[in-house]
Subunit: 253 residues, 2 copies
């Protein structure tokens, strides 16, 4: 079996902490990494403050196989991620020569000025490799096991696609989600018993209230082996029916 | 002026990390805290693993005035937050007597059994105070500066309302958001100049792509003094017009 490959995400942005912007990158990256067998194991959201970024990135890169960052790589004064990543690695930063050339050509073709602000978008730590951006040209970059992406979801997603081939793949975790209108207090005993018989699976219980499915609980079985997941699901069907309930939704991924 | 009061949020949940569930609590709490003058300064998302919860909560409670946790306080086997918080404080846990009495009465009135699973929902560290839940009875709790809330947004929100009166209030940060269709590379210089003239304000620049407002940038000015925010906004209007653009949206909070 393939090994477990782990990752962390560091979201950099005052706008997420203030509640102004609803983050969309965490769930995207959690799903996207899982599809290639990498487990998103921790997320930290920090403000646009250099020391906070340095501390979070250094803690995470020592602990997980990969670290992704989102946010703070644009042309404005509050975009301080590239310099902060250089500081985290204790290296200098520069205008990355290949990025500089690409960006200079891009603005030249459009008859626009390659301003000092736009040059800021070519900053990387010395030694970083570029990560292509198919949406808006200014690239992200990779420094050792740290991938630095934009915060705008469309751009972040294009950078993730570009970075994917370089990522080591591990065990893909499959899942099956069974929803019922029974409440957790009624389900807990049966669910705990199934968890005990399938210790290698991860059984989660997620209540929902007043959604388009009504009110109830989604029982989620996760693990590397589809046959074992299906065996656990069969047991869940059995105890839900025994309790007088029914499975109203059953989806696998 | 009131002091700065800071908070951190620790989101506990495999379902957020796997991407199965889109978090709604971070933005809610960021906004809700800001309205009462508390600054959400860091968020960590950790899996349902005791040692990870203990480590994150202990790091955060030492560093910020308040810590909020969401998730893991239900009746099922994967709900391990209360025991983990007790471990973080190095204290024992118990069935909180007042919570136990409330819950026993609740199920008794409904002719339902107060099962072992449901009793788990009364677990708190010894010494904790309850935080009321007006949605589904099982309370959250407070242990020193750590508030432990449910993960389901409706319940989390009701617990936050119940906890609010106990929170020390600091400086409220106001904001004004001006949107334009100019791009960041064009805006950066003028914006940087305004930031330099208003060092006590926080000027952020947030691009949006293909939204219902089209494509452009939101320039956000944040700070404690509305008059200073408005003065900075006036300067932003001026340089946006000088650049041949216009402010297409202007909102304050």
């Amino acid at each position: 079996m393939a090994p477990t490959v782990t990752a962390a995400l560091c979201v950099i942005g005052n706008e997420i902490l203030s509640g102004r912007t609803q983050d969309r990158n965490i769930a995207f990256l959690g799903n996207g990494l899982n599809e290639i067998g990498i487990q998103l194991s921790e997320v930290r959201i920090v403000p646009d403050i250099r020391d906070e970024i340095v501390e979070a990135v250094n803690a995470l890169r020592a602990r997980y196989d990969y670290v992704f960052t989102t946010g703070g790589i644009g042309p404005t004064h509050d975009d301080i991620t590239p310099e902060s990543i250089a500081a985290a690695f204790g290296t200098d930063w520069h205008y990355h020569p290949d990025s500089y050339r690409r960006m200079a050509e891009w603005y030249d073709r459009r008859g626009q000025e390659f301003t000092e602000a736009r040059k800021r978008m070519t900053i990387t730590p010395v030694g970083a490799e570029l990560v292509d951006n198919s949406v808006s040209i200014a690239p992200g970059f990779r420094m050792e096991n740290v991938f630095v992406f934009a915060g705008v979801p469309q751009i972040m997603q294009s950078m993730f696609e570009a970075a994917k081939p370089a990522l080591r793949r591990g065990t893909v975790i499959h899942s099956r989600s069974l929803s019922t209108r029974l409440v957790e207090g009624v389900l807990a005993k049966g669910l705990g018993a199934v968890q005990q018989r399938f210790p290698e699976l991860d059984l989660g219980s997620y209540p929902f209230y007043n959604t388009d499915k009504g009110t109830g609980v989604a029982l989620v079985v996760r693990g590397p082996d589809r046959a074992r997941i299906d065996a656990a699901a069969t047991e869940i069907y059995a105890f839900v029916e025994e309790l007088g309930g029914e499975v109203i939704e059953d989806s696998a991924s």
